[in-house]
């Protein structure tokens, strides 16, 4: 099973850390990511920059600066885990050094296959 894990950064506590500790934390996170790779749990992941939000109102797309939800937690990155089940994913993220810097959200990847097939049938029938 694949699990997308979103890592949030508590900007307030992060900002209070001296740069040397910030660097040490970053190094630990990357070292742990390497462990995940080595053990076959890594199925991708990226760090993320600030958000741009698009919304559709009255026939127009509006663009706004910043994430949809106001929060002092910054979505710092995501990684995709390969794990046997949700408890293994929880266990792997529990050991991620990043857990000390903010919350993580784990979401199982939905198998879109049946939905796509159904949609393809609808679109083919609509011709």
């Amino acid at each position: 099973m694949k699990y997308v894990c979103f890592g949030y950064l508590d900007t307030e506590s992060w900002g209070k850390l001296p740069p040397s500790e910030q660097n040490a934390m970053i190094d630990r996170c990357f070292a742990y990511d390497d462990v995940l790779r080595k053990n076959g749990h890594w199925a991708g992941g990226e760090g993320l920059q600030g958000a741009t939000t698009l919304s559709y109102r009255e026939g127009k797309v509006t663009v706004s600066d910043g994430p949809y939800a106001e929060t002092k937690e910054l979505l710092g990155g995501f990684l995709i885990l390969e794990a046997r089940d949700l408890n293994q994913a929880i266990q792997l993220i529990s050991n991620h050094p990043g857990i000390r810097m903010g919350r993580w959200e784990i979401r199982a990847v939905e198998d879109m296959g049946p939905m796509i097939e159904e949609s393809e049938r609808r679109r083919a029938g609509g011709k």
Binding site: V35, N39, G40, D85, L86, N87, I90, Q91, L92, P97
Partner: protein, 414 residues
């Protein structure tokens, strides 16, 4: 590469057949569920890399355990590098005991028994025991267990995380209980297994009456336990589950309606399961220390061996119920005895017993008590009473097939 089978296939079969045993031994060696799980994962991964080159080892299970143990030590060193001081896990891994020739990694049948008893520890609570047993002992995924019990995967995951934390924090020993504690602790294990079976046998709500997969897991657990700990009640419970399971194909009609024992097509009963159950119940009864599960299995065996419903040995069955009531005078067992007595002595005798139970205020909300009462009244020609009791039963029944059955009975009365 002189291997007759591709390594991934070999490993798949090994994972299915051996992973629970490897896990059980790693928990003993590492003293920690989560570390053991990750170590096992790494061992299988290492096998996938190394076996195609080096060949499959002579003792694959021992290889996996020993590799898992080394991987755990590596992981520990790594964690120490990250920041975590050596905790209890570290101390457990650096034992003061002398190294055995194979590093003490021989897997013992005891390990699986340890795992069963730890997962079924009464301190954890029944729900947690069920979840933990299915995941750790049976190897189901969290998502599969959540689906079977109709809860969100995150709810089930939380249950499992908390149970493991409790094992760690309370320092529950990873061991088979000693003689003094064993009967009580075994009772808890049997209860968990039977609960899993019943969950699969009649889903507590929803459309389907049966969820075969859980019943199958429970029977596999029963067989495992009977092999590791051949106590009378273990054989009794296994027999009881086998007899129930043997009737699965006959207890619902093609349209999904309930078929009563009296109306079941006995040629659909699974003879192989009945035979296995008969062997188990004979072993349990032969011990002369028949407990609750054994007596219930003996009743089920009497039904299973009768060539037709009219040949049911009701006298013998009532005799087993008398012993059972002495052991456990719970209202449900007294209700079942009432039904057997009615078949032996007539509906009047059954009605007197059921009314006695209902007057005690017990089973007032149990639909089967009212439906039994309705059946007796119908047979005695008291149609108004029968209708009233069927209606009460209908207002309490939750499962669609049972509701349809009761509605059918009501309609037949006009």
């Amino acid at each position: 590469m002189a291997s007759p089978e591709p390594i991934p296939l070999v490993l798949d079969a090994l994972y299915r057949g051996e992973s629970r045993q490897v896990l059980a031994t790693l928990i003993r060696l590492l003293g920690d569920f989560d570390a053991a799980e990750e170590a096992m994962h790494e061992a299988f991964r290492a096998a996938l890399e190394q076996w195609p080159v080096e060949g499959v080892p002579a003792r694959p299970r021992a290889w996996l355990v020993s590799t898992g143990r080394f991987k755990a030590i590596d992981a520990l060193r790594r964690r120490a590098k990250f920041e975590a001081p050596l905790d209890a896990l570290g101390e457990a891994l650096l034992p003061a005991e002398p190294e055995e020739p194979d590093g003490g990694v021989e897997t013992l049948p005891d390990d699986r028994l340890r795992l069963v008893f730890t997962c079924c520890h009464p301190l954890l609570g029944t729900e947690a025991c069920v979840a933990l047993t299915l995941r750790e002992v049976c190897g189901l995924t969290t998502e599969e267990i959540a689906r079977a019990f109709l809860v969100a995967p995150s709810t089930m995951a939380q249950r499992i995380v908390r149970a493991k934390a409790k094992i760690r924090n309370e320092g529950l020993p990873y061991e088979v209980p000693g003689a003094a504690e064993l009967p009580g602790r075994l009772e808890a294990v049997l209860q968990v297994i039977y609960l899993v079976f019943n969950e699969g046998y009649s889903a507590s709500s929803g459309q389907a009456v049966t969820r075969t997969d859980l019943s199958g897991e429970a029977i596999r657990l029963g067989r495992l336990l009977a092999a590791l700990l051949p106590a009378p009640e273990v054989h009794g419970l296994l027999a009881l589950m086998l007899f129930h399971e043997s009737r699965r194909a006959a207890r619902t009609s093609p349209s999904g309606d309930l078929v009563l024992l009296a109306d079941q097509d006995r040629s659909l009963w699974n003879r192989a399961l009945i035979q296995e159950g008969s062997g188990q119940v004979a072993r349990a009864l032969g011990s002369r220390r028949a407990g609750r599960y054994t007596l219930e299995a003996a009743i089920a065996a009497a039904h299973a061996r009768a060539p037709g419903f009219e040949a049911t040995p009701w006298g013998r069955i009532v005799g087993f119920y008398e012993l059972l009531v002495r052991l456990d005078p719970s209202p449900v067992i007294r209700l079942n005895r009432a039904v057997a007595v009615a078949f032996r002595d007539g509906p009047g005798a059954g009605l007197a017993l059921v009314d006695g139970i209902l007057e005690g205020g017990e089973l007032a909300t149990y639909h089967l008590a009212h439906s039994a009462r309705a059946d007796f009244c119908r047979q005695l020609g008291r149609m108004d009473d029968a209708r009233a009791s069927y209606r009460t039963a209908l207002s309490l029944a939750r499962q669609d097939p049972e509701r349809r059955f009761l509605e059918g009975r009501l309609e037949a009365l006009g």
